[in-house]
Structure formats: C-alpha cells, structure tokens
Symmetry: C2
Subunit: 154 residues, 2 copies
C-alpha cells in the first residue's frame, strides 16, 4: 500500500471536515503495525471490492469531536451520539471513500464501495481482518481524536 | 429482498455454529423496520458489492455467547472478548458470507465480498446506512443472543 493510494483518503478526510464543519484535524504519525487498533465512540465503516484487491476503511471519532462536528454542521449540539450523529458519520465516510474512488479510478485503480455501516458505543475498538497492509492514521483536534484506518488484503 | 436471497445467510449462520461449535441457535422473528438496531458486545461486519446491488452484513453476539462459541471451538474459555475471539467472529462472518455468495452465484446473483471488520465494545450498536431493504434477524440461545443483519441499497 503506497502513499499514492492512501493519500486520497487522508486528503478527503481533511477536506470534508474542513468544508462541511470548519474543523481542522492535525494528522499524526501513521502506524502500520498489525497490533494497532483504533478506539473511539462512533465509527463509520465501508467495504471496498475491486478486481485487483479488496479491503475496508474506517473512521473512528471520539464523542466530543463527533458532537462538535455535528454542531458545526447543523447549528445544534446533540447531548450524546444519536441516530443523526450516526448518519453524519456514515455520510462522512461515504464522501471520503467516494472522492478517493474517483481520484484512484482516474489513475487506473478501480474498486466498488459497499454501503456504509455506523457503529456507536463507548470506547469500542475496530479490527480490520486482513493479511495485507494496514494503515492507522491518528488525527488530533482540540475536541478529540479521530482515527482513519485503511486495509487491503494484499 | 426476498427469502431466496436471505435464506442462504440464515442457514449459513446456523450451520457454521452447529458444525464448528456445536451451538444451536433458535431463530426469532425477523424485523424489517428501519428503526431497529442490533446491539451486542462483539460484531463481525462485511461489505458486499455486486453489479446489481451493494450492501452489508453484520453478525452481533452477546459476550457470553461469543465466549461459549470460542470455548467449544478451541477448548478453552477466554475471560473476556480478546483478539482471538475477534478473529473467530471475523472468520464466522467470512464463512457465512462466502457460503451464501457461492449459493447465490449458482442462482445467477453475483457479488464480491470486502474484507471483514470486527467491532468489540460493551453493548455497541450497529446501523447499516442503506435506503433499501433491511432485515434484522434475532437468534436465541441459552448463552445469549445473536443478531444477523443484512441490508441492500435497493
């Protein structure tokens, strides 16, 4: 998994949150260890299936950050992670993956996207079950952390 | 989403747990409401992408049931949901989806499977983000509940 492939996802996350929620995330150091796991309170997950590879993508937010993004997008802050926050997270992961898909398709790398799944629950962990490369990228903000994870089966 | 399409997944779950872990699940009443959500302690999720449709599948287990399945498969009961239990859940969802894929392919319905993702966390909820049909199927056992959820975008 090279930078050319991963960058559209990272750029997508930064752009989407900047544009939709005036929220600037600061990228941390990417981690490639199989043992690393993303932890947070609400996650958007999406599967990818292409002729060459298959894989999965997840974005996990701390509750405070998710609520702040929601507040900046709709003008009102929910008390807790509810269905609307979940829908927002599903929409964000869908947009990021969709943008990256278009970008990579132009470079001859094709994949289809499954429908997004949203997971809510205090400090849940996400483990992508792949033998291939795995990248976890932490993002910092004043309101909490986000973790982007991208994995492929080869 | 008709029974012909859903049944291979349901049969798959029952067969896999019966064969691998001598565990008999009792299917409950399927629910089709968009508002229903699956809740549990460990889930296996997988995305599906086909030429006609895309969708997602999840299987969510209560902790007690997941630990019992693990105990019956490997002969030792973990104290809690650890990485090995997660791998087992990922493998179960992969097997069920793989069997259903073969079965449905023989009937002319093709889809590709993304790589599985496992979520761990006390009483997390799963929300499949689709506009199309959604089926949640509860399964009962003495050791706890499992929920199978299958969704497609049309």
């Amino acid at each position: 998994m090279n930078a050319e492939f991963v960058n559209p996802f990272i750029t997508g996350l930064l752009n989407v949150l900047e544009t939709m929620a005036q929220t600037t995330l600061k990228p941390g150091k990417p981690k490639r260890k199989q043992s690393e796991i993303a932890k947070g309170d609400v996650s958007g997950l999406i599967g990818m299936v292409g002729p060459q590879v298959k894989g999965s993508l997840s974005i996990t937010f701390d509750e405070e950050l998710a609520l702040t993004i929601m507040e900046r997008m709709v003008g009102e802050r929910p008390d807790t992670i509810d269905g609307e926050v979940g829908d927002m997270v599903g929409e964000v992961v869908n947009m990021i993956c969709g943008n990256a898909k278009r970008d990579l398709s132009e470079r001859g790398f094709e994949f289809g996207m499954a429908t997004p799944i949203v997971v809510s629950g205090k400090q849940h962990t996400i483990s992508h079950q792949v033998d291939g490369p795995k990248l976890i990228m932490p993002f910092h903000s004043e309101e909490g952390m986000a973790h982007l994870e991208i994995c492929f089966d080869k």
